[in-house]
Symmetry: C2
Subunit: 157 residues, 2 copies
């Protein structure tokens, strides 16, 4: 279960932009240097971010990028969706039941869908401000304590 660099870099770069932006555009060279990401690779990523409407670009000298919205109005989910292929856990999700075993839904069909939904829900709740502030209380959200096997479960809700 892995996260690729495109999504990771995108969030890092957007956080950097949120931190060092505010007055005018920030050139990619600055972000690349601070975050130690290849400039050419960053350019690819920002094309997608721009097309998704998450950043505005300014060309020419003293150009660069800035956030298209406030840091409370951009979520990590949006960023990752902009640069990554969709967060899919398995192929049976793609079109109907095509990838499922034989005819019917595979036994784990609902599980993977629920996992995907869960991840997306989590990432939808985290804004750029949350990331910057590192707010553990906000991000960690201990509402879901891990349950040891054999323990009585607490009803959801």
């Amino acid at each position: 279960m892995e996260l690729n660099t495109k999504g990771r870099y995108a969030v890092m770069a957007m956080a950097d932009l949120a931190k060092h932006g505010g007055h005018g555009s920030v050139p990619l060279t600055a972000i690349a240097e601070r975050q130690q990401i290849s400039l050419a690779y960053l350019e690819q990523i920002f094309q997608r971010l721009r097309r998704a409407g998450l950043v505005d670009s300014a060309r020419g000298r003293s150009g660069g990028y800035q956030l298209a919205r406030g840091i409370d109005e951009i979520t990590v989910a949006e960023i990752m969706q902009a640069v990554d292929e969709p967060v899919e856990m398995t192929r049976c999700m793609l079109d109907g039941l095509a990838g499922c075993v034989g005819s019917a839904k595979c036994l784990t069909h609902d599980l993977w869908r629920a996992l995907g939904d869960h991840i997306r829900a989590f990432l939808s709740r985290v804004t750029l401000r949350d990331v910057l502030q590192g707010e553990p209380g906000r991000i960690a959200m201990p509402m879901l304590a891990a349950r040891e096997p054999g323990t009585v479960e607490v009803a959801a809700e």
Copy 2:
């Protein structure tokens, strides 16, 4: 953001074992056929499941595998942990801050840790029984509604 086949197959196979087990051992050939997974590949996976203590094996003719515990006492998290590399979102998790940018924690350090924790917590709450029953209410857990950007957030807890 992707899930690899080892984890997926492992859960599928364990669900199959839970469904068709009960009286005696189930041979891998049966699981391989039902779940459409290569037998040789399944064998690899079951080695790990056995070493993790999740299944018991019986050799020889009419041998096979059976669950080492009840279906309420095996979680999806355990299964995936047994066959997969750990669910890590980034390299900076591995040893301290080694993979982080330069000296300090990267801006997104806490975020990825929180995401990993969250996923593990979710998977720790789902047992084999839940998977078999497909219980959407149990698995889906609508407790975390996705928040639209701009909406007032509800305090966690």
